[in-house]
Symmetry: C2
């Protein structure tokens, strides 16, 4: 059709009303938290500062009115962080939708 190679691209996010709540950044961060059980290790893996990663989580939680990450205090290796069921649910929904959109782009 076109002489030059045109490719579709998209950005996906979740919102409540008009407020941005959850997008690619938090999605990647939560995926890493699930894997590494540590917010600082997850931040490092996604190239974010700990401060930025923490703010991203808190901002999402503020809009949601629910926690998406929980951290157990203490223990042998310090606090272990993991997703709450709300966090997991958001990650799974985002992943499913993202995959459906990638698939739609590939058919294109």
């Amino acid at each position: 059709m076109m002489r030059k190679k045109i490719k579709p691209a998209f950005k996906l996010w979740f919102q409540i009303g008009d407020n941005y709540v959850f997008g690619e950044g938090v999605y990647e961060l939560l995926g890493q938290i699930q894997e590494k059980e540590s917010i600082s290790a997850a931040a490092k893996a996604t190239g974010m500062s700990y401060r930025y990663a923490w703010a991203l989580i808190k901002e999402a939680e503020k809009h949601l009115g629910e926690s998406i990450v929980k951290t157990q205090k203490g223990g042998k290796h310090g606090g272990k962080s993991e997703m709450t069921s709300t966090g997991l649910s958001l990650v799974n929904n985002y992943k499913r939708l993202k995959e459906a959109m990638i698939k739609a782009c590939e058919i294109e």
Copy 2:
């Protein structure tokens, strides 16, 4: 799942390499050009200035290396503008993809 009402949202565009080429703005503008056969009427209908609409078209054409709108000069009512086959093809592809993404969001 979540207590608050979370809704997916997305932004879709076409790119060549890393260059943004065609998105919602040009899509809406071309749709109006098809209907009104006039760039200025189309700009008005989409709430753009004529200058902005024109720049949007030219920017897309620059990256594509092809025209997306053609204007016949003269005639009883001045120049009549319409999409080229490249413009039409982009509009149709964008529309199909956008609809597929909306559908994916609705299943969500």
